[in-house]
Symmetry: none
Subunit: 208 residues, 4 copies
């Protein structure tokens, strides 16, 4: 996935595909064992049974490596049809919270985001690898709700996009903040209350 789009040269020994997966797996294991700040490239290499140079041949540094290692965890995010917008939201928020509660995600996600504030390419990598995958679900959920008639069909696409962005920041931000800053569990009860607040807000906004 993503990684680097560098078209491989035709000649020479090709890069080992097994090494790639071993490295990403080792990175996740190291995040669990050591946390972001104590994770070292040398340790990851050792865990993966690989030379340090092999890491640096593929990733520019720890930040990029960790983004790729964590990104795949967000692949499992889905939006199954649970029958109503409320249920869909609750479902996906719980899924997101579950991923964020994993030790490797918890320690790594905000760390790379913090790094990305001074590193535009890293920010872009996070966006395409992680954020956009989440945001897509907001759009899907909205479309499904419109089909169900739970939400009015957006007329102005510009407003619709802004609203989707807002909802995304609110939902993702709330879960992240509760998990990492407030350090409390995102349980079913909290999700129920959050969803009620969000849907109430959306309904009020629609009826303006």
């Amino acid at each position: 996935m993503t990684m680097q789009s560098r078209t491989p040269s035709r000649t020479g020994r090709p890069r080992s595909a097994e090494a790639d997966e071993a490295i990403l797996e080792a990175t996740r294991a190291a995040l669990v064992d050591l946390g972001w700040s104590k994770l070292t490239m040398g340790d990851v290499a050792t865990r993966a049974g690989v030379a340090k140079t092999t890491l640096y041949r593929r990733w520019a540094g720890k930040n990029e490596l960790v983004v790729d290692a964590v990104a795949v965890l967000f692949d499992e995010l889905e939006l199954p049809d649970l029958g109503s917008l409320a249920a869909d939201i609750e479902g996906v928020v719980l899924q997101f919270a579950a991923i964020l509660d994993r030790p490797e995600t918890k320690t790594a996600l905000m760390a790379v985001v913090a790094e990305s504030t001074r590193d535009a390419p890293l920010r872009e990598r996070i966006r395409t690898s992680i954020v956009d995958r989440q945001k897509r679900l907001v759009l899907e959920g909205r479309a499904r709700a419109e089909r169900r008639g739970e939400l009015p069909v957006a007329e102005d696409p510009c407003v619709a996009a802004a609203t989707a962005d807002l909802i995304f920041d609110v939902a993702a931000g709330a879960v992240v903040h509760r998990t990492l800053v407030s350090a409390e569990a995102v349980d079913a009860e909290w999700v129920r209350r959050f969803t009620a607040l969000l849907l109430g807000g959306l309904a009020a906004a629609s009826s303006d």
Copy 2:
């Protein structure tokens, strides 16, 4: 502001009070110039015109130092009475966004939060130095709105506390997420839309 509660011994040369402020100021300057990950204790000491040992005598490490250095920026958060709950919310959210937009805050805040996921004392320090100062505003805002009659007086204090926590995570989380993850500006328009969503949700919840 805590620092350390170690009762100072009666005898010997007392610690320099000027040094403390010089160090925190140097820390903020280093955050602006270098960012969280490139900030070093040695550099901070040099900037502050102080020996490294003086830093370590006062703070356990980089994390604690940065929390203290950044915490004071949140002192300026206030909740002036702007006449309505909506205006109050918009005002405080804009203030919060302005603080979060400063380069020292942007790079440091999520970094220490990420560290805190594996460091309970640090988490506690962040809570008392930074988070609780923000959360207090939510409670003040609610009380003021109740006095104005914009919100019904909470009956169950337990529910009221849970609601305040929820609102806090939603508001702070949304601003943080938009600023750091989406990397887009929290401007007046966004704040207006966010406040509308939040108040709509609160109203719907109250009318249940």
Copy 3:
């Protein structure tokens, strides 16, 4: 010149003869540009337009490669008949000094000798490729001087051999030491004085 005596298999693509000379030439160029310690196999391969594997197929390592690259420079050593033993000695010493003054020789010769103190096969390679070629001249010079009647014909071949070895170590050692350790030029004046010393010593020894 040896290289390796491995009898080539009858079939298969034969090794490129051009590559050999290109590699040795590239090695000398690299010695001039970089000096012994900064010369790398990869760089030599690149300069020669050859893959690293091609180097390793022919030479065991940097030491062996450099010995072969430098050895050919000693091929030009000759002992033209200049009419007298003194003139012959001065001539060959000046030739030897000229070779030793080349940048590739200067940086490489003592380096491989130093390596050879812990590597017997390398020592043997140096002997056959470089040293024996020089020592031969001593024997030729002696024979010519005997024919001329400048030196008495050796009676005991064992003593004669020991004397030749001594003269060789004295002459080669003096030139090497002056060039590399004292770092001063072996000019005509020095050679004249050295030859006088050597011939005086030989005459005294003969008259015992």
Copy 4:
């Protein structure tokens, strides 16, 4: 000895004198065990029970370190009065050969000389630490021989200096060459023959 003349700053923790000696001793041990080319800074540091940074704080690199480590071995060179010039020469040549026959010297001396061909400061360091200490003996020996009447008192100091240089290059070069290049022992018999040659040459030169 020599080392660096950097005047130590008055303030701060002073450098450990024990560390210096431990490092030089460890360097000699590593030379014996591994030889010049396999000696690494990290290994020396480990042997000395010292951090790598401590090495680099004192020496610019492996070359300088090894020169200092080996230099002290030449301190033991002396010129005891053995009664005659021949005996004095034989004595000092044997001493020099004994030092050069030690494994640490054998592997290191020509290696640093080879390096010094492209590194003027290193060449100067070798001269002051090692070479000048040897050359002094030549001058002492000459002076003693003049006092004894074995050699005529030099009239032209310029010629005397050139002769001393010549003798030094011849003697040191011959021993080095026999030991390292010819790889044969400098035994009493060889030294006797060499001394006879040298004295014969000197006598012939004097009688001109």
